[in-house]
């Protein structure tokens, strides 16, 4: 059995009388690409906030990168990477400044940051853009850079919250090339997306419905179990009856 990088047992979060996350239990291994799907309002964001140490659970237990999500949130935040559409890099800093800034936040020393910066600009083919402000870069480049910055401190697991929104299909697939490379290096990738074809690219996928995990398996097995041809069909079948909660 591979090392468990994320492990939850009956993890629950209530807001007043509303149960946003309802006893979810699952494990994710080292180097696995884990797709975390669900309709808007199914509880994905709340679950992600708990796993990234930003929100205390109501009950249940979980460890992320071997740290406890009640008592070791600081250690979790130092040992995970995080990237989303809403929170990524600073538009008014240059590419180099962003890398230096986040390197500093992650507590890397100057020499390491300098090395990482050069490596990153080289591997992302951004050598000519090092001193360009981020606001002048195409969205697809920003997304790739934000992903690499989230990996600066060599975390065991990286959380990607809808990382590929708004880009063209070629750019979206290039981003997935990066995800595959990262996972091949042993980093666990925990990813949410509304593109159902991307669900097919994950090693395993979970689908949250009304705070619970309604299905969890490889895309192939899920489709076979539910007798659907695509993940889109499967998602619509599982998520539709739950619609109407409106929250």
């Amino acid at each position: 059995m591979a090392e468990q990088v994320i492990h939850t047992e009956k993890l629950t979060k209530r807001f007043g009388r509303f149960t946003a996350v309802d006893e979810i239990s699952f494990s994710v291994s080292a180097g696995e690409i884990f797709g975390f799907l669900g309709a808007n309002g199914a509880g994905k964001t709340t679950a992600m906030k708990m796993l990234t140490g930003l929100l205390a659970p109501t009950s249940g237990s979980a460890t992320v990168a071997c740290f406890d999500i009640y008592r070791q949130t600081e250690a979790i935040r130092r040992n995970i990477g995080y990237m989303s559409q809403r929170f990524s890099l600073y538009d008014d800093l240059t590419v180099r400044e962003n890398i230096r800034f986040f390197g500093g936040i992650y507590g890397l020393d100057k020499a390491t940051i300098r090395d990482k910066c050069d490596q990153m600009l080289h591997s992302l083919d951004l050598l000519r853009e090092g001193d360009t402000r981020l606001s002048a870069l195409p969205l697809g480049w920003k997304q790739k850079l934000a992903f690499s910055v989230a990996l600066l401190h060599e975390p065991k697991v990286v959380f990607l919250d809808e990382p590929t929104g708004g880009v063209d299909p070629v750019t979206r697939r290039r981003f997935w090339d990066l995800i595959y490379q990262t996972a091949a290096n042993g980093v666990t990738v925990f990813v949410t997306t509304h593109y159902m074809d991307e669900a097919e690219y994950c090693d395993r996928v979970s689908i949250m419905v009304d705070g619970k995990i309604a299905a969890l398996d490889t895309p192939e097995k899920l489709k076979r179990t539910f007798g659907t041809a695509t993940m889109n069909e499967l998602f619509i079948r599982l998520a539709r009856p739950a619609k109407g909660s409106g929250q």
Partner: protein
């Protein structure tokens, strides 16, 4: 047939950025017309010009036979516009938002209830809830109701389904289909390629230009190369091996398969399968398939990029 939208050579520049570079197209009445393209392609700028919120640098546009610059006041009363960013009042309830928009257009919710009834029925249980507290899918439905409340002849919908889950997206498109039956012309932009096939006609935008404009089946006929779907166990490895094949033109993940094109005119599936088997893929399956809209758009994106790189270098 009467054209609901006509544009001629629209261009718009913001400082050094050329957002639109000569956009010419028209949309007949009662058509569902899709604008497909990534962020930064120019879709939102085009919508703002059509909604009379921006004046083009060059070229002109008319909606319902009215010029967008000269007759902007009349246009505004006859079209509905749903901007890409949620633009309703977060601290007003569902009901209050609808009433507010009805009042602004000098009408009442009751007067046009028939048109929005079906959508509003789904919002009804939450009518007292503040708009800011709704889920993404519900917000989109409320925004659509508000854009419809004065019974417009033409709807401009700027990325109504971005960030919305697959179930809500499907419901939203079913609603658009029913509005079309009522004779409302619609311009919808989207970054989702699967939604393109739900339109009567689509325009593919990139870097401020229209790269292709046709019916969905007309668009796919632009893809002329033989296309193969390749399946094997380890997808990442499979993509890398396919790209390393000496005749490979492209290899991209598509759902549970990898779509492959060859540099030669008449490649053979068997040859490709044999090569992959020699690379250790025992369970490989290679099928010749018809291209979809996404394949076609990707091919257009790639060819325009390689032309650009050639002219840059």
């Amino acid at each position: 047939m009467m054209q609901a939208v006509i544009t001629e050579g629209l261009s718009k520049r913001f400082g050094k950025v050329e957002a639109l570079r000569g956009i010419t197209f028209s949309v007949p009445e009662a058509q569902l017309f899709g604008l497909i393209g990534a962020d930064g392609a120019g879709k939102t700028t085009l919508f703002r010009i059509l909604a009379t919120l921006l004046v083009p640098d060059n070229g002109k546009a008319s909606l319902l036979g009215l010029d967008t610059v000269e007759s902007y006041r009349e246009i505004r009363t006859r079209i509905g516009y749903m901007p890409g960013r949620f633009s309703l009042y977060h601290d007003l309830s569902v009901e209050e938002n609808l009433e507010f928009f009805a009042t602004v257009f000098g009408t009442t919710v009751r007067e046009n209830h028939e048109l929005i009834r079906e959508i509003y029925d789904q919002l009804e249980p939450f009518r007292k809830r503040r708009a800011g507290q709704l889920s993404g899918g519900m917000k989109q439905k409320l925004a659509l109701c508000c854009a419809l409340v004065h019974r417009p002849e033409l709807l401009l919908l700027d990325e109504p389904t971005t960030g919305v889950d697959a179930v809500s997206r499907q419901e939203f498109w079913q609603m658009l289909g029913r509005l079309k039956q009522q004779g409302i012309t619609m311009l919808v932009s989207t970054p989702y390629m699967d939604e393109a096939s739900l339109c009567d006609r689509v325009a593919f935008m990139q870097d401020g230009r229209i790269m292709a404009i046709d019916t969905p089946s007309g668009i796919t006929s632009l893809f002329t190369k033989p296309l193969f779907a390749v399946r094997a166990h380890d997808k990442h490895h499979l993509i890398n091996e396919l790209r390393a094949f000496r005749h490979a033109a492209s290899a991209y993940a598509f759902g549970n398969a990898v779509h492959y094109t060859d540099l030669r005119d008449a490649p053979e599936a068997q040859e490709l399968a044999a090569w992959l088997r020699s690379r250790g893929f025992d369970d490989v399956e290679v099928l010749r398939i018809d291209p979809g809209i996404e394949d076609t758009f990707m091919a257009l994106t790639e060819s325009s990029r390689s032309q650009q790189e050639a002219s840059d270098g």
